[in-house]
């Protein structure tokens, strides 16, 4: 794992002879966090790898234009966020199916311990997250799992803080209701 700061990585990247080396370090620095975000968004490992690779290719193409207006991680996160939404849109268009049908297909690997180590409640949490609309799912992930501030999420998604608060509030309610219903069903199968 690279111990270099973002500024040091960027300085290395701007030099022609160390560009690939710097980019390698940058990928090693951020790949796990980005992968987790993308995997939560698309659920399936192969899909997540495709989106992550596309994200890094885009970062490579655009990093020369990065002027440091935002933090580097927020800037990369924004690219990953957009790549996820594009990918999900393409999936729906390609399969000519609804959001629910795509989510169901992507959740197919959740029951396999080969792909998922969480217990029942975490599996159900991921299923509940997958029922959210794509943009709301991204907001929920950034707030709940990554604990980003609304201002940071606003920079990443391009959505106002007020709209983000509403979106997160609704997402929490939906997921809690989903998990509560699941627990009730588990304790009282007749209900």
């Amino acid at each position: 794992m690279s111990d270099l700061s973002d500024d040091e990585l960027l300085a290395l990247f701007r030099k022609e002879d160390s560009r690939h080396y710097a980019f390698n370090l940058l990928m090693r620095k951020y790949q796990r966090r980005l992968y987790t975000f993308i995997r939560r968004m698309v659920c399936d490992h192969d899909e997540a790898e495709d989106v992550l690779q596309d994200t890094f290719i885009k970062v490579w193409q655009k990093l020369g234009d990065f002027r440091g207006d935002a933090q580097l991680y927020s800037w990369i996160y924004r690219i990953a966020h957009n790549q996820c939404l594009d990918h999900l849109r393409r999936l729906k268009r390609g399969l000519f199916v609804s959001h629910d049908a795509v989510s169901e297909r992507l959740c197919g690997t959740l029951d396999s311990t080969e792909h998922f180590t969480g217990d029942h409640i975490h599996r159900q949490l991921q299923r509940a997250i997958m029922t959210l609309p794509d943009k709301q799912r991204a907001v929920f992930h950034m707030k709940y799992f990554d604990e980003l501030k609304y201002e940071e999420i606003s920079t990443i998604t391009g959505t106002s803080v007020g709209a983000l608060k509403s979106s997160y509030h609704i997402a929490v309610k939906k997921i809690e209701a989903w998990l509560t219903a699941d627990q009730t069903k588990a304790t009282d199968p007749t209900s």
Binding site: R28, Q31, T36, T117, L125, E147, T180
Partner: protein
């Protein structure tokens, strides 16, 4: 990511609040060790010009010139395409399209006699018109034979 960290929004969501936030996903062995190399490989491949692109670079100017030449030739020859070759062909064409020569107060014989057999007149009739245009004209204008001859 910290277990049980506090969010105001989770006050009314006890289940969500109680869960730990570690990612429960499994990745293939050495996935994160190998991913940067795979991405770098893709970057190098995308930077390398593809054979099709190289081929296209060499042929695009001759291909564009040829296309322009074909277009110019097509425009130059366009009026000659589909013109009426003989009055007989024109009459047959009209009959095929169900045009009633009677409605025009003339029959095939009249038409032929009036202008079809006259080489000078025929060259006037055929000039710049194809059979469709001519039949449409005859149908729409509903001219008498005299008027028709005058028009032509």
């Amino acid at each position: 990511m910290q277990n049980g960290s506090y969010h105001d929004e989770l006050d009314e969501a006890p289940i969500l609040r109680s869960l730990h936030r570690e990612a429960p996903f499994v990745t293939p062995p050495r996935f994160f060790d190998e991913l940067p190399a795979r991405v770098q490989q893709r970057i190098l491949e995308e930077a390398r010009p593809r054979p099709a692109a190289i081929w296209w670079t060499h042929v695009r100017i001759p291909a564009a010139s040829l296309l322009a030449l074909v277009l110019v030739a097509a425009i130059a020859w366009w009026p000659r395409f589909g013109t009426v070759e003989t009055p007989n062909a024109m009459i047959a064409d009209m009959e095929l399209q169900g045009i009633e020569l009677d409605r025009l107060d003339l029959d095939a014989h009249d038409l032929m006699a009036a202008y079809g057999e006259d080489p000078d007149l025929y060259s006037e009739v055929g000039h710049g018109l194809n059979s469709d245009e001519l039949t449409a004209y005859l149908l729409n204008e509903d001219l008498s034979l005299d008027q028709l001859i005058e028009e032509l």
